[in-house]
Amino acid sequence: MKKARKTGLIFFPAFDWAISPTHPEREERLLYTQDQVFEEGLLDLENIIEYKPSIASYSDINRVHFCVPDARAVTTESHLIAAGGAITAAEKVMNKEVDNAFALVRPPGHHAMLVVHGARGFCNVNMEAIMIEYIRHHYGHRRIAVVDTDCHHGDGTQDIYWNDPDTLCISIHQDGRTLYPGSGFHEEFGGPNALGTTLNIPLPPRTSDEGFLHVLDKAILPILSEFKPDLIINSAGQDNHFSDPITDMRFSAQGYAILNDRLSPDIAVLEGGYSIEKALPYVNVGIILAMAGLDYSHVREPEYNPSRFRQSEEISSQVAREAEEIYELWSRRNELRERMIGDAKYMKRRKGVYYDTDGISEQQETIVRICSDCGGVVMVNSRSDLGNHIFAVTIPWNACRECRREGESAYDKAQKKDGYQHIYLQDKDRDLYLVK
């Protein structure tokens, strides 16, 4: 018998909020999950404690994002509560009231990037990132690993922590050539000061439990043990499930439970997952039991037949290769970093971002100062087809004197007459957010 752990559960199904009446992100989404959690009596178990979510503030969001024009404009109460739920989960863990916690909240957030012009992939603001920056602000700087187990590439979290060497973002997802958002390949490996702390593990469609757990054991767990995070966060999407209507994977509730048992996250935050009737009730019960250290071996979808969902030999060898490659890449990160930087002082990155939920296109140029003393000051120039044009500066955690000086001066120098509607400064150490 395993040792039972005290698990905090923040359950907020937002039964009165939807993107639109028939959208996958609608009122009904966690209805059957609630039924299953209530019927199983999980909230009566001594080591599972339910907490009411708090409501995140706009300054909690401003610690993470540059919202255009501001945080109020791009969020609803539901986003503030979902982020607040993640924050509550973190507080309960950090205050040692519980051993770990699961924020079973909606809407999701892992597609929300550093700059937010609108909603993409059903996400407006990034719940995990808001939580991480909350932890760092209130409990001191921590090394944190985010393991994104949603079927879609966690491109928002990746974007936010692209230049942060103290946040390891590992996303395991269905190959981007076959699924939204179409990214998440090995080449996406982090910014120059943080190369290797962004890792992407694309898996072939129809990967089943065996494949996911292989990658977990052979790549993710060894990498985590080398990175030595203070906290592990599971960005817990549930759309790898064999019954999910918008993806093509074959993961089961049992597989999700085993994954969470082995990964042993300090905090899990719900992301996507839209098989609301056939997957979510069972996957969530599995995750809760696994986190609480309880027997989950009886958790099973009523219609699950493992033999029907066996992955092919070809997929198995593809997955095995994938796990080897990603571990190899991680091992060579320092060497690759030197080669990438050469004697550059700054690095520039250009990209286009499409906000599918809101139909907005953004063009973005990011400049990061190459720095071996801190994450490096980041300057963002972004323009959307709604006509918004912004300039934003992030002075990173534990900023060195030079990066701070350059960041402050870039903010001071930028003028509205240069064509920007808004100019922002985000100063992590001083918890400052300035706008002009």
């Binding site: 039964f15 009165d16 299953q36 209530f38 199983e40 009596g41 339910e50 019960v285 009886h298």
Partner: protein
């Protein structure tokens, strides 16, 4: 006239109410092993010299089922559990005769695995061989579709004395609680039925043929014949009796309020929201059994007038143990009651014995008797106040699941404090100060339980799940699953619910004038499959809320 009797653990209270006035009261010590005797004795006393034809109604509250469970005087129960996938079955084993059946009904009430009749027969035979006469049948999600429980029941009814079905216990989801509730219902069934037979024959013997009601944990009543099927509903009716008693004696009770029943060993804390007593969120807890039994929310804390006072590490400590009555009543150790007697807050008992007891504490502490008594009294009040604060905080922090409730949800903020129980009067002023509320000690507080019992109306609850995609409507408590008419809406569900709840309550003994029905849950979800709207999932829950019978306004007996 109405006769109300509350057979409590220590005392039996009785009251005779005539035309809205208390005509007589009585209080005797309960003989726990002879509850019917306690009951008939006090009834005979109270009715002596009364014209019995004036009696219109008799209501009883009894600890019979509670005691049976606490003292483990229960019958062995064979449990047939259809647990399906999920939590490990080891969580559902109670009483040593739990057997697990194949079969499963999912969260929408759709059968996903069938019952195996051969398996059922095998366990049935095993139960008969073992001499088990009482069986509970409980399926996961049986409130969403009772058919598997009904199917099993049909094939095992031979040779058993009684069978309880899980879906009849409550419309709420919570399988482990459903198992425990069904088990307890069956475990006390025999003993309770025999009690009911004796009570009925006693009143018939007196020549009384008026309706007899039994008080439930939710502060409502049901007619005694109907109570036989659900003896488990009668557990923990004592705290409910006292809360209903307070309700009947407090005028203008429309605000948030706290009610304290300060006894010898414990203080029960209850809360009113806008004048209505709060219910437990899921159900009451009894001897470590978490159940689905609707019950008034009442938190017992281990401090009362007879709590033991002692000194440890230079600190004066109070309770939670009770060694006996107060020293002033020849008890073995100093108690808060002794401190209150010494301080002149009350003039009961033997003052010099009280003083001697408090002095023993003063000597250890090296302070005067006066100081010791003040500290004991103050600590007692502070301890109770602290528990009250934590009860309120717990209620206000209860999780909610909609944005509306999270942002606009009601917060309890008590405007008045009601106190009953032995030390109610001496403690009232200080407790009122500590809790920042005006205080009210109702006039007949010694027999509050009997009064509450006498005046409680019949309550009932009903849960409707309409699934228009499947075209079915399920009413768990009634064991009904039927086809839906086309174009069924939420308004239809509410209307159907009102009608069926009315029928249900009348069947349980309610009078038409007492049927104050309210909708307590009302949700409708679009069901979308593959991006198309396929139906609606409608969930409605209604209740006849706890309250006083018609003709008795809140505070009438103040």
């Amino acid at each position: 006239m109405i006769l109300g009797i509350d057979v409590g653990g220590t005392h039996t209270d009785a009251v005779l109410i005539e035309s809205g006035r208390i005509r007589k009261t009585a209080k005797v010590t309960t003989s726990p092993d002879r509850i019917v005797d306690s009951l008939s004795g006090i009834a005979q006393d109270l009715l002596k010299g009364e014209s019995l034809e004036k009696i219109q109604r008799i209501v009883l509250s009894t600890t019979l089922s509670t005691n049976a469970i606490v003292q483990n005087k229960v019958d062995p129960v064979g449990l047939l559990v259809i647990s399906g996938p999920g939590l490990s079955p080891s969580h559902f084993e109670i009483g040593g005769n739990t057997r697990f059946l194949s079969g499963y009904v999912n969260h929408r009430g759709i059968e996903t695995a069938p019952i195996d009749p051969a398996e059922v027969t095998r366990f049935h035979e095993e139960f008969l061989r073992k001499g088990l006469k009482h069986v509970g049948i409980v399926g996961k999600f049986s409130t969403r579709n009772p058919n598997q429980e009904l199917q099993v029941e049909k094939s095992i009814h031979n040779g058993l004395d009684h069978v309880s079905l899980g879906h009849r216990m409550s419309g709420h989801l919570n399988f482990p609680r459903r198992v425990a509730t069904t088990y307890l219902n069956e475990a006390v069934w025999e003993r309770y039925s025999s009690f009911v037979r004796q009570v009925i024959s006693f009143f018939q013997g007196l020549g009384l043929s008026v309706p007899v009601y039994i008080l439930k944990a939710d502060g409502g009543t049901f007619e005694i014949q109907h109570s036989v099927e659900f003896p488990v509903y009668t557990i923990l009716s004592g705290p409910a009796a006292s809360i209903m008693g307070i309700l009947s004696m407090t005028p203008d009770n429309k605000n948030d309020a706290i009610a304290l029943d300060i006894g010898g060993t414990t203080t029960d804390i209850a809360v009113f929201a806008d004048g209505v007593p709060l219910l437990e969120a899921f159900g009451v807890t009894m001897e470590n059994h978490k159940t689905l039994i609707r019950g008034l929310r009442s938190k017992p804390v281990g401090i009362g007038g007879d709590s033991m006072v002692y000194v440890k590490d230079g600190q004066i400590l109070i309770g939670p143990e009770r060694k006996g009555p107060a020293a002033a009543f020849d008890g073995p150790c100093p108690t808060p009651t002794d401190a209150m007697i010494f301080l002149g807050l009350t003039d009961i008992g033997n003052r010099s014995k009280a003083e001697k007891a408090v002095q023993s504490i003063a000597e250890i502490m090296g302070i005067t008797v006066q100081e010791a008594a003040e500290i004991i009294f103050e600590n007692t009040c502070e301890k109770i106040a602290l528990h009250v604060h934590s009860v309120i905080e717990e209620i206000n922090n209860q999780p909610v699941y909609t944005i509306h409730e999270l942002l606009e949800g009601k917060k309890i903020s008590p405007k008045i404090l009601y106190i009953i129980g032995g030390p109610a009067k001496p403690m009232s002023t200080r407790l009122g100060q500590l809790l920042g509320c005006p205080v009210c000690v109702p006039s007949y507080y010694e027999v509050a339980n009997a009064i509450g019992t006498a005046l409680a109306r019949t309550t009932a609850e009903l849960t409707i799940l309409a699934d228009t995609e499947q075209g079915t409507m399920t009413i768990g408590e009634e064991g009904i699953q039927e086809k839906l008419p086309s174009r069924f809406t939420r308004e239809d569900a509410i209307e159907t619910g009102r009608r069926m709840l009315r029928e249900r309550a009348l069947r349980l003994g309610a009078r038409a004038e007492d049927l104050e029905i309210e909708v307590i849950e009302d949700q409708e979800f679009n069901m979308v499959r593959d991006f198309y709207m396929t139906g609606k999932n409608i969930r409605v829950k209604l209740q006849v809320k706890p309250g006083l019978i018609a003709g008795f306004k809140t505070g009438e007996l103040s």
